[in-house]
């Protein structure tokens, strides 16, 4: 029996290298868990057909001595990341039968390293949601308490790792879609700097915000994945060239906390746990400073203008003509209207209309242009703050994992789940969500850190310290 719960990438690599078990045995252990748990949790939508052949190919790399740290590591892949020949539905009916004609940039790299792509995972439709409940393919449940949501939109990938159905996973973030499910499922999740990981072959939601983001059980696991996938990809015009990536970050010492942003609206156990986390960091030598981010309080409202504007533009390509769901109708116009009306779910329709509204003549200046100006201020204010502190810390989410269905009929309540996520996505800076304990009921708690652009190393440094000083069984 392989103890999947406590596996890390480095341990696993050593075991595969020494022959303690083979890639195929490791994979079978995960497949067995999937067989047992996936029916209830609904993390995976599909296990890729050739998964066992991938394990054999990985084994060969160990035999000929060319294995890397990711060789043979089972990964769960969010359903909006293209894998050639496989369905990528983005959790939507409109792409239910769409097969990718090429590999995403990050998938090419994982294949090159002979990581094992286990299957595609459930997600909120087109990554629009914070609970994995807007998927056309049913809800995903939180393994810590199946009556609660796992967070979203990358909930399937989070649950795959949290329930030992994969060792690591890829999700995507537009605003918290990896950090928030990491918080709800007790994982470590990184939103890299905008431009760090290739967006080539990712089904776009908001191009100026989207970023492929890894999930892991430990900071080191996430760091290994980040390092493997962080490179300039000429296929993505927003991928950062090598010279921009090279920055020197000294070990972080000063952490700024914008206490004024969470005076209200944060659940009591979360605030108490966050205060305790900061206290422990202080006791271990970090300096905790009170900072003011006056523009950042507009982050979520700004996001809910910019994102739908980009959504309504992006989703106009799904029209029932070249691929995906196509409704039968008399005229071309009717084919568009019916295919889109029937193919998109409720949240997608809501955001398409909202985006159309904020971009329409007469409202463009009041909403979109204003949001763009505010975004510039938010970015400026965050970068300026990094002249004084090395990191910015906040709770990852304002609430504990909520009940299934609880926020489904109240879009604004659902959107507020990402209130602390928005500043990093709007400003492009990297951010790491880390487990910070559990409640009495056993629900995971999480703290989040932001660093300057391309200073992911500072996040990993504080993350590894944090892992040492925070007792996971601590009850706050």
């Amino acid at each position: 029996m392989i103890d999947l719960e406590n596996l890390t990438i480095e341990d696993t690599h050593e075991k595969l290298k020494s022959g303690a078990y083979a890639c195929r045995e490791l994979l079978e252990a995960y497949l067995e868990n999937i067989e047992r748990k996936n029916k209830d949790l609904n993390a995976y939508l599909e296990i890729y057909e050739g998964v066992r052949e991938q394990a054999e190919a990985a084994q060969k790399e160990f035999e000929n001595g060319s294995a890397t740290l990711l060789t043979g590591i089972p990964f769960a892949i969010k359903d909006n990341i293209l894998v050639q020949g496989e369905i990528a539905s983005a959790g939507s009916k409109i792409l239910g039968n769409y097969r990718a004609s090429y590999d995403a940039g990050v998938i090419k790299k994982l294949k090159k390293e002979k990581a094992i792509l286990v299957g595609r995972t459930n997600m909120d439709e087109f990554a629009m949601g914070s609970s994995t409940e807007t998927s056309y393919y049913g809800v995903t449940k939180n393994p810590h308490d199946p009556s609660r949501v796992p967070g979203g939109s990358s909930g399937g990938s989070a649950v795959a790792v949290a329930a030992d159905m994969a060792l690591a996973a890829l999700g995507t973030e537009t605003c918290g879609s990896v950090r928030q499910p990491s918080a709800f499922c007790g994982l470590t999740g990184l939103k890299p700097t905008y431009g760090a990981l290739s967006r080539h072959g990712i089904i776009a939601m908001g191009n100026s915000l989207d970023q492929v983001s890894p999930f892991g059980k430990t900071v080191r696991d996430v760091e290994i994945i980040f390092e493997a996938l962080s490179f300039h990809d000429p296929e993505d015009a927003t991928s950062a060239p090598a010279e921009i990536r090279r920055i020197k970050a000294s070990p972080p010492k000063k952490i700024g906390v914008p206490w004024h942003l969470f005076e209200r609206g944060v659940e009591e156990p979360i605030l108490a746990n966050f205060k305790n986390s900061m206290k422990q960091l202080e006791d271990s030598g970090y300096k905790i400073l009170d900072i003011e981010l006056p523009f950042s309080k507009y982050s979520l409202a700004t996001y809910y203008i910019i994102m739908p504007a980009e959504v309504s533009t992006n989703l106009s390509r799904f029209d029932g003509i070249r691929f995906g769901y196509s409704a039968e109708a008399e005229t071309l116009e009717e084919v568009y209207r019916h295919s889109r009306g029937e193919g998109f779910g409720r949240e997608a329709r809501r955001r398409i209309l909202l985006g159309t509204y904020v971009l329409s003549h007469g409202y463009y200046d009041a909403y979109y242009n204003r949001a763009v100006a505010l975004r510039a201020e938010i970015r400026e204010e965050i970068l300026r703050t990094f002249a004084e502190v090395d990191l910015i810390a906040t709770p990852t989410t304002p609430t504990l994992p909520f009940k299934l269905g609880e926020k489904l009929d109240d879009p604004v309540a659902m959107y507020l789940s990402d209130i602390f996520s928005a500043p990093a996505n709007l400003s492009g800076v990297p951010s790491l969500a880390l487990p910070s304990g559990k409640t009495k009921e056993g629900l995971p708690l999480s703290a989040q850190f932001m660093a300057p652009p391309f200073a992911e190393s500072s996040l990993f440094a504080v993350g590894q310290d944090f892992e040492k000083i925070i007792s996971y069984h601590e009850i706050s």
């Binding site: 003509i321 100006a373 604004v412």
Partner: protein, 90 residues
């Protein structure tokens, strides 16, 4: 926001909506707009340029691609003699 506003947005976005959904979207949009309204009260100096944005261009190059023609054409909802078939445009 009125029902006819929802209808004209749906028209622009090429989305067919049922009557019941128009009503519920009207309610949702009002509540979301009420929330994002707060951007109007922000004092924006408007001096900040934000990120310097620039275009990434390159010359066209004829390179072999991995895209599978079959995989693309086999997904056409309607086709004739290997071409994509659509409803009459004019």
């Amino acid at each position: 926001m009125e029902i006819k506003d929802i209808e004209s947005l749906a028209e622009l976005a090429r989305l067919r909506l049922s009557e019941a959904e128009k009503k519920s979207l009207q309610k949702d949009l009002e509540s979301i707009l009420n929330y994002i309204e707060e951007v109007k009260s922000a004092q924006v100096p408007g001096q900040t340029e934000g990120e310097k944005l620039y275009n990434i261009w390159r010359e066209d190059q004829a390179l072999p691609r991995e895209y599978s023609l079959d995989l693309i054409t086999s997904q056409f909802p309607h086709k004739e003699k290997g071409f994509l078939k659509v409803k009459k445009i004019l």
